[in-house]
């Protein structure tokens, strides 16, 4: 599965990167995020685009969002 890392990026770059990743890999993408704002924005965007999302905390305190059809 395609994976992107949007940790530390300012609005709206995490969502733009997600949009691009989903264009390249329409079946889904794994996204590493480190802010609640970016997480919420990505979740809202992928749901509007017809995807489902669940998250899992990583060892270093970041969040891995799994976006799937």
């Amino acid at each position: 599965m395609k994976q992107i890392d949007v940790r530390g990026l300012a609005c709206p770059q995490p969502v733009i990167d997600t949009q691009q990743a989903l264009n390249e890999s329409p079946e889904g993408v794994d996204i590493l995020v480190d802010s609640v704002t970016a997480k919420n924005n990505i979740e809202r965007f992928v749901k509007l685009s017809g995807y489902q999302v669940d998250g899992e905390e990583t060892a270093d305190g970041a969040l891995l969002l799994r976006v799937r059809r």
Binding site: R7, G8, L9, A10, C11, P12, Q13, V15, I16, Q19, S35, V36, T37, N40, R44, F45, L48
Partner: protein, 366 residues
């Protein structure tokens, strides 16, 4: 109330209503008209109070700013969202903050005051809004091309706490009012609500804006970029609440002429807000949002706010700021210079633009 409430549509609408009601209340309690809340004007007043500029009518340590930052910091600390972060092109952010202020003082208001002016019936703000949207569209063009100020990184706790601590220092100066702090005796700087009320209002705005990520530039940006109207609802809720509030208390005045602390030079209202919208997009949020993120521990946003503070000082020291009489000649030059500098920043930070050693630029294919 659950977290999801604030993250949803009802949350952002409630935040907009709270900001709108407080804005009308603060004007009723002494703030200048259509200026219940204005991040740019209030930072300008703080610059004056500290003697960084000597415009005698714009000097006051605005408690609203203190409240907003502390409200955001308390919420972020309480929800464990607080995080010391920085290092994403700090000096570039300072320059962008500087020109956000130059543009805002041409228009006479930040994006939040633009909405408040619209809600007060000031039609000059329509040209400001048009310019703001135009600036946002230019910014989006660069975002789509790959504009980035790069990542921030985790920093020691004190780095993130420094800005809220400086703000507490400002609160001490406000309450102690030593002789070296300037307080306007006349003009907009002398018009203010009681300290406790302004502080409380700021705290509430900080709390709601932190929870909901309310952002004036984000609303229009997300609608254009992602067809996502979420943040725009906050913008709309403020406008409707303030419109109803002004009509209810009899301060609604529809038209272009004789609007409070505004001028009716449409071109420069447009261009001032173009600069604000464009630079704010590159910063990742409007002046209010920068204050909130600075409260959450972002030293990048704190530096953008400091850029605004210095921009305000320059604007009054060098005669850039507009007044009710209209734009100043120096201010027009400054706005044009600002647009050119923001263009350079926007272009050179596109991720596939490489500055070669010879000094020539080459756009590489991805």
């Amino acid at each position: 109330m659950s977290k999801s409430f604030f993250e949803g549509k009802k949350g952002i609408i409630l935040a907009g209503i709270v900001v709108g009601v407080l804005a009308v209340l603060l004007v009723q309690s002494g703030n200048p008209k259509n200026m219940g809340m204005c991040i740019a004007c209030f930072i300008r007043d703080i610059a004056g109070a500290l003697g960084l500029h000597r415009a005698a009518v714009a000097q006051y340590i605005r408690p609203e700013i203190i409240g907003i930052v502390l409200g955001a910091a308390l919420m972020a600390l309480g929800s464990k969202e607080f995080g010391s972060k920085g290092g994403s092109s700090p000096l570039t952010r300072f320059v962008l903050g500087f020109f956000v202020m130059v543009g805002a003082l041409m228009f006479l208001g930040c994006p939040l005051r633009m909405v408040l002016r619209l809600g007060g019936g000031d039609l000059n703000a329509l040209l400001g809004l048009a310019g703001f949207v135009f600036g946002i569209m230019i910014g989006i063009y660069f975002l789509k091309k790959g504009f980035s100020l790069k990542r921030n990184y985790s920093l020691p706790a004190l780095e993130g706490l420094a800005f809220p601590l400086i703000i507490i220092g400002l609160l001490v100066l406000l309450l102690a009012a030593p002789a070296f702090i300037f307080f306007s005796a006349e003009g907009p700087g002398s018009m203010h609500a009681a300290v406790w009320l302004a502080l409380l209002a700021g705290l509430l705005v900080g709390i709601f804006a932190q929870k909901t990520r309310l952002c004036m530039v984000g609303g229009i940006r997300d609608l254009i970029l992602f067809k996502d109207s979420h943040l725009l609802w906050g913008f709309i809720a403020i406008f409707l609440t303030v419109t109803i509030g002004n009509l209810a208390v009899g301060t609604y005045q529809l038209g272009f002429m004789d609007q409070p602390i505004a001028h009716n030079d449409g071109l420069w209202n447009f261009l001032g807000m173009t600069l604000v919208g464009w630079a704010s997009i590159l910063l990742g949020g409007c002046p209010l949002r920068q204050l909130i993120m600075a409260g959450e521990g972002s030293s990048d946003s704190a530096i953008a706010v400091l850029g605004m503070l210095v921009g305000a000082a320059f604007s009054h020291n060098f005669g850039l700021a507009a007044s009710a009489a209209g734009p100043a000649a120096n201010g027009k030059i400054a706005v044009v210079i600002g647009l050119v500098i923001v263009l350079v920043i926007a272009y050179l930070n596109i991720e596939n633009v490489k500055i070669q050693k010879k000094g020539e630029m080459k756009v590489e294919a991805n």
